[in-house]
Amino acid sequence: MTSQSIIAITPSLVMNGDSLREAFGKALVKFSDQYSNFVVFDADVAGGTGVHHFRSKVPSRFFQFGIAEQNMMSAAAGFASTGTTVFVTTFAVFATRAIEQARLSIAYANRNVKIVASHTGLDVGPDGASAQALEDLAMFRSIPGMTVISPADSLEMELAVEALLNHHGPAYMRTGRSPSKKIFDLGHSFKIGKGHVIVDGTDLTIIACGAEVHRAIEASKILATQGISAAVINMHTIKPIDVSLINHYSKKTGCFVTAEDHSIIGGLGSAVAEWLAKTKPCPIEFIGTNDCFGESGEPDQLAEKYLLTAPHIVSAAKNALQRKNSL
């Protein structure tokens, strides 16, 4: 880890940008000429996943599979065997419905298939627990060879789509349903497997992904007013996780909070903890749902009820810090 690779970015949180799903659909259109060798699969949810943009602009490369995700997932593997990159798009819970097809047909054949899912976590909101995928990162992360990505804002989503177009092999990426908060400015760079330092800090490190990144930034501001210097890392790639960045901040701050709109079992927090446990054990606190299902409600209300918001990250940070100081 060299200091040059730490890019400190001034967060400029602006509300109501494109949702990540809209950004995803628009990015597919944007790159459709430059990258002529990809197609998009849908299972009757194009309006929900953002790929309706691609369907209307590039219909010849859009394939409708109906409400039949298992066939779609395995068919993607077969289509990709012609040398074409396939974006399989659906809601995250329906991607996990076809997890075994993703495992065998796609990953166990190392096919160039990118599974991109909207409707992730409590961010789904009113549809309730049936549609709120809180296990997808854990399930896809456990599949050998599967890259797992969860971008934090609409600009990063576009960069992630281009990175996936240049990546070979199976990948799973989360988008998101709610309007996103703008975090990054033009000039932001994205490399699969390389986390970003958004805020530098010396007392503790908050590692977040997706919808939790802006909440982590907010938490770091609250902590700063209380004299606590919290680094914030946007860990957009959950697998392979950026171990050199974790090592650097382990040495620098000695304790962590992880934050994800996902179960604390098996996702980002687990990935960070697995690495730290093996290398340099230190206090770590986990923000995420705690072995429970969600429910209907507005995303912000749910985030508050299930302890995902900035004040809860602040409390977790203080716990981590206290544990570090009592070592």
């Binding site: 066939n71 068919a75 593997a77 077969g78 012609t82 074409t84 065998l104």
Partner: protein, 282 residues
Amino acid sequence: MNNLTFVARQIRLLSIASIFHAESGHPGGALSCADLLAFLTSKNLPFDKSGENHFILSKGHSCPALYAMAAIQKILPFSALTTLRKINSLLQGHPSVITTPWVEASTGSLGQGFSAAIGLAMGKKHLNKKGSIITLLGDGELQEGQIWEGAMCAAHYKLDNLCAIVDYNKLQSDDNNENIMGLNSLFDKWQAFNWNIIEINGHDFNEIQDAFHMFEKTRNKPTVIIANTVKGKGVSFMENIPAWHGSVKIKKEEFELALRELGASDLEVSIFMNNEIPEVSL
């Protein structure tokens, strides 16, 4: 003995031999599909180097027959057949693209190879590439819901470059199909899904050949060949016995008896019993 009969005999001998060496595997379904696979060698399958035709074994547990076919076609060394299911082998217990790159799809979980064949057929049409995609399904496999998702999709996209063959041997892992989950009427099911259906005796090369001619002439519909077969075909003590579906160990005396029933000569039997594989290719 005509060429296809000879190829089918070799596929059966080599399948039994590789399962014998593995000390486990699924002989019944490998024997039932051997004549169908023998015919496919005339289409340069299982791996057509020109990239025109493709074969996906959706009933992945019958892979000893696939590997035998590959050895006969010289895309796999005969000696590899004794390594089936063993550690560090090219030949996994179910087909794997990763270990065996000429395999067109990783299969072994039923229903998935069929969908991969559908995706490949769609991809070839999208890229304006000619050629046929042939996939072999088990009858028990048709109980998977994914099959009917795929059946709907292939007809919707009018995949006339796709031919599914059902190895309809009437038995599955535990018992007769009809005692596990009835499939009748298969013909009516595929017809309702708007496929071109051809029902044949899967051990008659003339009927197999005619069915392929009909498939190749059919436009705007995928074809399914319902091939009536006998599970364990060619080995009397395995025929129509669910216990030989797999995964079973073949004893040495059973191996020798099977070789002889399949028409192996004294010389061939002595080679096989010496733990070697006679190298006979086309």
